[in-house]
Amino acid sequence: MTAAEQIISELDARTQSLAISQLIGELQVLVERISFAAASQDVRNMSKDDVELLFEGQLSAEILDFVGWLVDNKLVAAVIGDTGRLFLNHCIKRYHHIQQVHFTTALTLPEEVKQHIARTIMPSYPAGARILFEVDPSIIAGFRINDRSRVVDKTMRAAATQLTRRHLQEVLNG
């Protein structure tokens, strides 16, 4: 695996929960800010504290974790200057075609449950997909999958509504 492939793999692994638009937006901030900082300081050897200070809450924990991995592995140069712009262009092209799957539940799921769900669903998307876990208490229980091409509604709210309608239709029709 080349360094570039390793960087993309780590980025994928650490940012699975981010929407594509958020991921691209934060990568753009990362490349611009760290390139600007590189003009006045040696960013290749900066610490994690320096990273957090540099971005001051501008990036999500997932992207900050990815930057920390770059720092730890001395790969910060990959996101500076022209190399950084090439990296950004590559990410834009790569993630542009990846399907986003919204998996909605009534409560926040533990990480191992999310991984189990991702492993179970991913075979349905051979071209690759990014699963975004969302919370909506109004669904009561169960889950809803929305990948823009279809919606799978396995929520308690939908079931209650469906059963109620069927029951009332039977009552009204005598």
Binding site: T105, A106, L107, L109, P110, V113, H116, I117, T120, I121, S124, P137, S138, I140, A141, G142, F143, I145, V152, K154, M156, R157, A160, T161, L163, T164, R165, L168, Q169, L172
Partner: protein, 171 residues
Amino acid sequence: MDSGVVTVLIFGAISLIFGLIIYLIVMMRRLNASFAKLGFLVREDAKKYFDEAADKIVDTNKQFQENYVDIVHKGTQSALQDVSNVMRTAVVKAQQDAGSIIIEARKQAQDIIIGAQHESAAYKQKALEQSAQTIEWVVGQYIGKTYTDQQHIDLIRSLLQEYINENRTSQ
């Protein structure tokens, strides 16, 4: 002059005077009679005139009455004809109005039926939605109070497996 002549002359003069007086009296009487007669004639003429006038009044009245009757008759005929025309027009208009009213009534009835059907459908739909919302709320309250996080996760796992199985079957 001779006294006899004078006497004769005086006598003659006196006789002439008496003769004149008598003539005058006669003439006066005749004149009076003439006046009386003239008065009679005048009175008669007046009477005749007034009689004619009275007759004329009677005639006029009679003619007026005849004319009046004629006017009334013709007027009545005309009025009846007008009434007939008005009635005919009114009847025709009434028929037209009745037709329009019937058409309008039918349309309104149809609108009412359609409206009632829509209202019924809307009411039924509303009742369904309200009932569904109520049951959703009850289920939500029940699940919210009784379900533990683990039960939620177990349900998700179970439903996820159900979805995968359905997906495999459909493919």
